[in-house]
């Protein structure tokens, strides 16, 4: 299935604003991150395990156990700093 991945802040500067990604049906958000990590390069650096990366699914904060669906909007971003 195809999902839309969006990046913000320092992740956006390194990886671009967004990209369409194909994942196996039934994938979790964590599996998507693993898949992106496996590309190596900047994706591996920015999304490495141990780095503080937060995620949202369909514009709601989510954790990596969240199940993706066809057309899902996933976002990866650094810890937020508003207010």
């Amino acid at each position: 299935m195809r999902v839309q991945v969006r990046y913000f802040a320092s992740l956006r500067e390194a990886l671009g604003a967004e990209e369409a990604v194909d994942v196996p049906a039934g994938s979790t958000l964590g599996a998507l991150r693993d898949g992106l990590l496996a590309r190596g390069g900047e994706h591996a650096r920015c999304l490495a395990r141990g780095r503080a990366v937060r995620c949202a699914l369909d514009q709601v904060m989510a954790d990596e156990a969240a199940l993706l669906h066809e057309g899902a909007e996933v976002a990866f971003f650094p810890p937020v700093t508003g207010g």
Partner: protein
């Protein structure tokens, strides 16, 4: 009448005008508590000459509205007005406004502080500061996670 209005905008805001609008027509309001966050010219030991506020369009408004609904669930408040600015800002500029109305002061103070603690750790905004050494992204603070935890909400942000 209970009302919650949340706006994410580039334009500046006027505290007095927003308070007046929130209070209008509600003679049951006995307390108004407000917070304004502003841009400082120093941060983490460096001089800051400018700041850029990035956000997640769509998610920011929804996230803050959900926080306001949670505040209304926890505290007996009449209404809330929240404004968060985005885009380029300068030292002394206003960044964020939280105004809460209630019958009595305790709920207004509590809800105002709760909303700021929640917004600081869960609203999708990111600040980039311009310093003499160049532009840098602001780091999230564990102290803000601790502030939110005091309300019974364990939501990892800073990590």
């Amino acid at each position: 009448m209970q009302r919650i209005v949340v706006t994410v905008q580039r334009a500046d805001f006027d505290l007095a005008a927003e308070v007046a609008a929130l209070r209008e027509g509600d003679a049951q309001v006995g307390a108004v508590a407000a917070f304004v966050g502003t841009v400082r010219d120093r941060s983490d030991g460096a001089q800051v000459s400018a700041m850029e506020l990035e956000h997640y369009p769509g998610m920011t408004e929804r996230a803050i509205e959900a926080m306001a609904s949670e505040a209304r669930r926890r505290f007996d408040i009449h209404g809330a007005r929240i404004i968060h600015r985005i885009g380029p800002l300068l030292p002394k500029d206003q960044i964020v406004l939280v105004v809460v109305t209630s019958s009595h002061r305790h709920e207004a103070f509590q809800a105002c502080e709760f909303l700021m603690d929640y917004l600081k750790t869960q609203a999708p905004f990111w600040k980039k500061e311009t310093t003499p050494d160049g532009a840098r992204w602001v780091d999230a603070r564990q102290a803000d996670d601790a502030a939110l935890a005091r309300w019974g909400l364990q939501m990892d942000n800073a990590g």
